[in-house]
């Protein structure tokens, strides 16, 4: 398995752990204080911004850990090198993931237009962003296996 495939699998796992952990922290561990605010736009603004910061920091840390572990196991340098094949696969898989997110973004407007509570919109939007990112990584693995 190539480093890019390993990185994509690692990315999926960390995304699931980070997102799952953050949702669990917010809606299970601190349910008493957060659940009553679920209709409040300010709550969703705080939730989204905090999630973005937490995700960026934890992703950077996890990528550093991954690079260290990989360097120890494979004893190879310059593993992050990307050539034209890698870049093309990355562009195609990111495009597919972004298509899913855009579709989710448009769908998230439907409950608002129908007069449903605002949390439907945020749940659909954030879920499509998460699933879109995960699908992008899955597509990456698919393209590496099948070719482009």
């Amino acid at each position: 398995m190539s480093i890019q495939e390993k990185k994509a699998i690692f990315n999926i796992l960390t995304s699931v752990l980070i997102m799952g952990g953050y949702v669990y922290y917010t809606f299970v561990m601190h349910a008493a204080e957060n659940m009553p605010r679920i209709d409040d736009i300010q709550f969703w603004g705080e939730f989204t911004l905090t999630m973005m910061i937490v995700t960026i920091i934890l992703k950077i840390i996890s990528l550093i850990v991954f690079a260290i572990i990989n360097a120890i196991i494979t004893k190879k340098k310059d593993e992050d090198f990307m050539d034209e094949y890698d870049k093309k696969i990355e562009m195609k898989s990111d495009r597919n993931g972004h298509f899913f997110f855009i579709a989710g973004f448009i769908c998230s407007m439907i409950p608002i237009a129908m007069g449903e509570p605002v949390y439907y919109m945020f749940i659909i939007m954030l879920s499509s962003g998460f699933i879109g990112g995960t699908l992008g990584d899955l597509w990456k693995i698919y393209y590496y296996r099948r070719g482009i």
Binding site: S2, Q4, F81, D83, E84, D86, Y144, R146, G147, I148
Partner: protein
Amino acid sequence: MGQTHINNNIRTLRFHKGEMTQQTLADEVGVTRQTIVAIEKGKYSPTLELAFRIAGIFEVPLTEIFTYNSAEDKFKKRNQNLR
């Protein structure tokens, strides 16, 4: 997706070049070994730039390495009225 319409004989040329490894060829042309594997298997058509670099390593014309299978390429001709 998957198989391209460009065939190549890189494997044979590597063999005639003293059983050159995929890694050596990859290093010489500035790509990863995985990319050479994908090209050899016909899973990826390289850019012209990379194709010329590969041809340069084997010191043969481009057409001796890559051949185009027009019979399998089911591309659609553009409507001539659009010109």
